[in-house]
């Protein structure tokens, strides 16, 4: 590290940190208002609400059928996590270990759904899913959500697999393990930390995936984030506090998994591929 010398340099450093602080203060303020409001009796023209209550949570639970929504959410997320693991990990293994013709093309195939925003491919995707009759059901939602998560698992896993010494697998083969047994007995244990990290990130991303779910969900296949959107956009119909109570439930659901995921991954990995060591 090189110390900053001149007054201008030091001023600049201060300005940068001030900017970061300003951003974080507002971010936390933004989250805090949602939490405070969800516990408030009435809150109009003061810094803090007139009184506090927990009754909005019960209200939200009934009004928004949060029980059903949460069950749907976990069904969708669970299926997406499992299926993207099953499809993504073997594909990542092949991509990490083999050179074959058209590999660059396949790589592009996996990169595109991650780079193209969901709203762009979501509308044609939803159209196709409606045509084949999958949209509106929970399976439509799951299929749509898998489109970005399968490539995500692949891209996270490739560098992870590459850093495992291929001689380990060669040794397993020498001792007579077939492809399947080598996979289950040697690779999966070695890859567990990477798989866990990738799948936790998939989980966090899927809970928060709005567009694809919104386009493909029917009345019985809404996830939490879509229900939250419906409640926010219909503001005025319900009490603001009960919308915020639901928002808090959503935040807890997401952030709990995020905190768990951050035990295994670097925050930077949520937006980028595996970091250079």
């Amino acid at each position: 590290m090189i110390r900053s010398q001149t007054a201008a340099e030091r001023l600049w450093v201060w300005a940068v940190w001030l900017l970061v602080a300003f951003f974080i203060v507002n971010l936390l303020g933004l989250i805090a208002t949602v939490v405070v409001n969800s516990f408030s009796t009435r809150w109009f023209t003061t810094w803090l609400p007139v009184g506090f209550t927990t009754r909005w949570y019960a209200a939200a639970w009934d009004e928004f059928q949060l029980g059903d929504v949460l069950i749907t959410t976990f069904e969708v997320v669970g299926a997406v996590v499992v299926i993207s693991g099953l499809l993504g990990v073997p594909a990542a293994y092949a991509m990490a270990r083999r050179e074959f013709r058209g590999k660059r093309f396949v790589m592009l195939l996996f990169l595109l759904p991650m780079v193209v925003p969901p709203i762009t491919f979501g509308i044609p995707l939803a159209t196709v899913l409606y045509k084949v009759g999958a949209a509106g059901s929970i399976w439509g939602v799951i299929l749509a959500n898998l489109v970005p998560t399968v490539p995500f698992v692949i891209l996270v896993m490739i560098p992870f697999i590459q850093q495992i010494d291929p001689r380990m697998e060669a040794a397993a083969r020498v001792f007579g393990a077939g492809t399947f047994r080598m996979f289950t007995n040697v690779l999966v244990p070695l890859l567990t930390p990477g798989i866990l990290a990738a799948l936790l990130l998939v989980l966090v991303r899927t809970i928060a995936m709005f567009e694809l779910t919104f386009f493909t969900a029917g009345p019985t296949s809404q996830t939490l984030v879509v229900a939250l959107y419906a409640a926010v956009s219909a503001a005025g119909v319900r009490a603001g506090q009960s919308v915020d109570a639901m928002a808090v439930v959503y935040m807890i659901t997401t952030l709990a998994w995020l905190l768990l995921a951050l035990r295994f991954v670097n925050p930077t990995q949520i937006v980028t591929r595996a970091k250079r060591a």
């Binding site: 090189i2 010398q5 340099e9 450093v13 940068v16 900017l19 970061v20 974080i24 507002n26 971010l27 936390l28 303020g29 933004l30 208002t33 949602v34 810094w47 499809l87 594909a91 293994y93 092949a94 991509m95 270990r97 074959f100 013709r101 396949v106 195939l109 996996f110 193209v116 969901p118 709203i119 762009t120 509308i123 044609p124 995707l125 939803a126 159209t127 196709v128 489109v147 399968v150 490539p151 692949i154 492809t179 966090v204 928060a208 709005f210 567009e211 919104f214 984030v225 939250l228 959107y229 926010v232 959503y250 935040m251 670097n266 925050p267 930077t268 949520i270 937006v271 970091k275 250079r276």
Partner: protein, 289 residues
């Protein structure tokens, strides 16, 4: 056996085939819908095969969505990238940036819908933000920050800046710190070090960051509805596509708009990358001497 052997010679063995399920899945649920949408966009409900595109580019209510979206997406992306680079350059110097990066990852994780709800509370006329402005005497009346252009703009800063920053940080930390030290030993002051060493090495990464951030901002959707004026200044192109698909049930028109959206994104990204190859020639990435 001989087929297997000849396939193996091309690198196609049992392991390679593991890539097939995932590849087929993406072809079926990404490539096929895209092509399907492309074909469908040329089969309008009424009129000739180009009727959807003709309609889009002749109705101001539709074609202005492109400029409105660009008017939001480009300034937001420029701002986010411009803020990310100096912040990432500072953060790279601190020993344990994990707390900071964790805080910054929260808005990305929570997503646009929750940020919109938070902003409606926090930045509303009675929210803490305006209350603080009044209290500190920075403004005599509440500033309107939601249900207009700025609402969408700010929501894209709140979710977009952390995204841009984390991406930039991964590029910045990829540059060998020894290079900057070498520059300092040769008498370069911090501005010179940035201008002559860091910036040239970061240009490719910053450009990719810019493209990815721009594409995200260009596809702004829920916050444009919740925080903007969906009928006015923030009627972005995704709202037009959504309206066509789910309110007018015109899948053909919706597909046409989605294709236009994709085309604009591709055009901007290609233009940027082309500009880079004209202006900057040098090794991509950077680090190893």
């Amino acid at each position: 056996m001989s087929l297997r052997a000849s396939l193996a010679r091309q690198g196609l063995d049992g392991v390679t085939l593991l890539v097939l399920p995932a590849a087929l899945f993406i072809v079926a649920l990404f490539i096929y819908p895209f092509l399907y949408g492309l074909v469908l966009s040329f089969e309008p409900k009424v009129g000739g095969w180009l009727a959807n595109y003709a309609k889009f580019f002749s109705e101001p209510f539709l074609y202005t969505t492109i400029s409105k979206t660009l008017l939001i997406a480009i300034p937001v992306t420029v701002l986010n990238v411009a803020l990310s680079v100096p912040v990432a350059l500072r953060v790279r110097l601190i020993a344990k940036p994990k707390l900071l990066t964790t805080i910054l990852v929260i808005p990305i994780t929570l997503g646009t819908v929750l940020v919109a709800e938070g902003m409606l509370n926090y930045m509303g006329p009675r929210g803490w933000f305006n209350r603080a402005l009044l209290e500190f005497g920075l403004s005599s009346s509440p500033i309107r920050l939601i249900h207009n252009y700025w609402g969408v703009f700010l929501s894209l800063v709140i979710t977009g800046f952390p995204f841009t920053f984390l991406l930039t940080l991964s590029y910045v930390t990829g540059v060998d710190p020894g290079l900057e030290q070498a520059g300092a030993m040769l008498g370069a002051r911090s501005w010179d070090r940035f201008r002559t060493i860091l910036l040239p090495l970061l240009v490719p990464g910053i450009l990719i960051t810019f493209c990815l951030s721009f594409v995200q901002a260009f596809s702004v959707f829920p916050s444009a509805l919740l925080l903007g004026e969906p009928a006015g200044s923030t009627r972005v192109i995704s709202i037009a596509a959504y309206t066509a698909a789910f309110e007018e049930y015109d899948a053909s028109m919706a597909s046409a708009i989605a294709m236009i959206m994709a085309a604009v994104q591709v055009a901007i990204v290609v233009a940027l990358l082309a500009a880079q190859s004209l202006v900057y020639r040098g090794p991509a990435g950077g680090g190893k001497g």
